[in-house]
């Protein structure tokens, strides 16, 4: 049976039209991954020197260990947002004489085969050979890596449980992140000593391999929790119970009535986003886009205008990109209805445009406080805001007619979180680069500020021509609608 499950999964993966249709994107993803891998290996090779640089009189092994507990916490946080849970459509297996335990074990096994479990090893392994084996001994190095492997798997399974449990409640993860940050700050001011504890634990475990049994037992416990959680949620009834949520009261919002059928279409977009798990996740992620500036603005080394333009585009447009690129795919379930019914496409797109500009305007207003880091930031954000509002919004809508891949929004049951991963971002990279490309020639001419102005200017000009731009968008849509519909009909 395991063999069958494996082969079905393999077929599902290789036969998904994602692979065949976008070879270029596969290539780009592969290339970026390769670069990332080599950076990690390099980090592993030089981390001891970096550590000695920061703590000249410390032992790299001990310092490395002191950060591990924090690493595990942050890892859990990052995984929560970037890691897609393994999908296996259990309904097709439940009626067959297959033991449930087999299916569950398979799901869990599959979850452990993921990139987040490999990445840390790329750092750890060079570190082992360069530092631990040389400074200490081979046996210590061996116990240490075993502990690391157990902890990585532990995080992997723990996350698997937490994500299934709390996918709708990212606030819990926010609190978790806050606890990590607070602990780090307290640690920094020597109020608590979690880092010392961390290094003591891991040095002890490396020297006393017998006690590795403790993390191992924790691993088994976490696996068991996962197992029983999945087991209790494996019947079709459970899936259905999950589906029969109470209906919301969006329909009682009378505000949109005054806009006639356009208002009805806007309301439809809002319902679409709110009532489908898949689209709702962008709402959950929105705060992340807005906080992006905090990564860059306080950092003296990242004050280059090019950087700031990128940050500006990302912050004022992050939500727009997420909505815009799936604008039509999200409708794939009922796309035939959209084109067969007496729907005015001009209005249909105008409703979407109103959604887009609302997100851009709200994002812009919320990023105004970043003026704290200087008026430069505000000016750049204003320029990128205009560019998003007037230009990129139409570009996104124009290219939305290129979607051909069906997305199942309604399968929001326990076992389906497909496509909540990171790879979608690669698609829209060119959009981020565009404003920087506009700016670069001005920078080369020595008038970088004019470049910022040009970005804003293009935004304003395209805003002035929004009616004509909309016509181009709709015209392309009407030309492509048969192809889009055909793609969406393929299950």
């Amino acid at each position: 049976m395991f063999k069958w499950l494996l082969s079905h999964q393999w077929k599902e993966m290789t036969r998904s039209n994602f692979w065949q249709k976008s070879l270029v994107i596969n290539f780009i993803i592969g290339f970026l991954l390769l670069i990332m891998f080599s950076y990690l290996v390099l980090l592993g090779l030089f981390i001891d020197e970096i550590l000695i640089d920061i703590y000249p009189d410390g032992d790299p092994f001990i310092i490395f260990n002191s950060g591990l507990l924090y690493y595990l916490g942050i890892d859990l946080f990052v995984r929560f947002f970037l890691y897609s849970l393994p999908v296996i459509n259990i309904e097709s297996y439940l009626h067959l004489p297959v033991k449930k335990s087999k299916i569950i074990n398979f799901i869990l096994l599959k979850s452990s085969l993921n990139i987040f479990n490999v990445l840390p090893l790329l750092v750890f392994i060079p570190f082992i050979f360069k530092v631990i084996v040389v400074d200490y001994s081979g046996s210590i190095a061996f116990s240490w890596i075993i502990v690391m492997l157990i902890l990585i798997l532990n995080n992997s399974f723990l996350l698997h449980y937490l994500k299934r449990r709390f996918i709708d409640k990212p606030a819990i993860i926010g609190i978790f992140a806050l606890i990590i940050v607070v602990t780090m700050v307290l640690d920094k001011f020597d109020i608590i000593a979690l880092s010392d504890l961390s290094s003591q634990i891991f040095v002890f475990l490396s020297n006393n391999p017998f006690y590795i049994i403790i993390p191992f037992l924790i691993l088994i416990l976490v696996y068991g929790i996962n197992y029983s959680y999945l087991k209790s949620r494996m019947t079709i009834e459970d899936i259905n119970v999950k589906k029969q949520k109470k209906i919301d009261s969006l329909s009682r919002i009378k505000y949109f009535d005054s806009f006639g059928d356009l208002g009805e279409m806007i309301l439809l977009e809002i319902k679409l986003i709110w009532r489908n798990k898949r689209s709702r996740s962008i709402i959950n992620m929105s705060p992340l886009f807005l906080l992006y500036g905090l990564l860059f603005y306080p950092n003296e080394d990242m004050q280059g205008l090019g950087f700031l333009i990128f940050v500006g585009i990302f912050m004022t447009g992050g939500i727009m990109f997420n909505y815009g690129q799936y604008m039509l795919s999200w409708e794939s379930n009922y796309f035939d209805g959209i084109i067969a019914n007496n729907i005015d496409f001009q209005k249909h797109f105008r409703a979407k445009y109103i959604m887009i500009i609302s997100t851009v305007i709200i994002s812009y207003i919320l990023t105004i406080p970043y003026v704290y880091f200087g008026t430069k930031v505000l000016i750049i954000n204003t320029a990128t805001f205009l560019f998003n509002l007037g230009f990129l919004s139409f570009l996104l809508m124009y290219f939305s007619s290129s979607s051909r891949k069906r997305m199942d929004m309604s399968k929001s049951s326990v076992f389906n979180y497909q496509g909540l991963g990171a790879s979608n971002w690669i698609m829209i990279l060119p959009f981020f680069l565009l404003p920087i490309l506009i700016w670069v020639p001005f920078n080369l001419l020595g008038i970088p500020h004019w470049g910022i102005g040009a970005i804003g200017f293009i935004g304003i000009v395209s805003l002035a021509f929004h009616k004509s731009l909309m016509k181009i968008v709709v015209k392309r849509f009407e030309e492509k609608k048969h192809l889009i519909a055909e793609g969406f009909r393929e299950l």
Binding site: K246, S251, L268
Partner: protein, 231 residues
């Protein structure tokens, strides 16, 4: 009302539909039968401009359906669940369809009041999204929505499939009533020869994309069709 000229549709080089000529008059009830893969749904999708023909045209009241969208205002249709906006409640869906057709919420209410029997109390006021309904109930929502605009042409693909027996009978009566009282032009496909011969005055048999029979319904039609489909 509907005129087909030299229509052909192929997928990957295989011709799935080939109709050199076909005319459907106003008020005619046109039944389409055929085995799986005969081209019934393809034909209906072409009429509704959901797919592109490789060759030929379809005219609705003299206008090529792929050139304008005017025909949408007098054409009601339901092909499959792909027409339903699944995250809406049935009420919201009817309101939406009415709204894009410039009907008021009052019109919708009046319209839905007539459907009490047809819905059999399972559709309205249930506080469920369409995606939570059973297949048969989804079908009822789709068929009702296709009628909301009081269409002159009605296109239904397999409307009887997955409906319960009572609803099948109600639907038959509803369709006959629409013919008699409103002279609606109907295009209906079905696997069920009984239903389609009962509702339609004219039956066309499709086989591998070709029209091989074009019969005016009489008391012998059912037998004729049964003998044709018998293996």
């Amino acid at each position: 009302m509907i005129e087909v000229k030299n229509l052909a549709k192929a997928y990957n080089g295989t011709i799935v539909l080939n109709i050199p000529e076909l005319k459907i008059e106003k008020g005619e009830s046109f039944g389409l039968v055929g085995n799986n893969g005969a081209g019934k749904t393809t034909f209906f999708r072409l009429i509704l401009d959901l797919i592109k023909a490789n060759k030929g045209e379809i005219y609705s009241q003299g206008i090529d359906v792929k050139k304008t969208t005017d025909w949408k205002s007098y054409t009601g249709s339901y092909i499959d669940e792909g027409f339903l906006i699944d995250f809406l409640t049935p009420e919201e869906y009817f309101d939406f369809i009415a709204s894009v057709n410039n009907l008021s919420k009052g019109d919708v209410k009046k319209f839905l009041d007539q459907f009490g029997d047809f819905f059999n109390g399972e559709i309205l006021g249930k506080k469920k999204y369409i995606r939570e309904l059973s297949r048969g109930n989804k079908q009822k929502v789709g068929i009702a929505a296709s009628l909301i605009t009081d269409p002159e042409i009605l296109v239904l693909d397999e409307p009887f499939a997955s409906l319960d027996p009572s609803t099948q009978i109600r639907l038959k009566n509803l369709l006959k009533q629409l013919q008699q009282e409103k002279n609606v032009t109907m295009l209906i496909s079905s696997h069920d020869l009984n239903h389609v011969t009962e509702v339609c005055e004219r039956i066309v048999v499709l086989d591998k994309g070709n029209m091989i029979h074009d019969i005016k319904t009489s008391s012998d039609t059912l037998q004729e069709l049964e003998s044709y489909f018998a293996v």
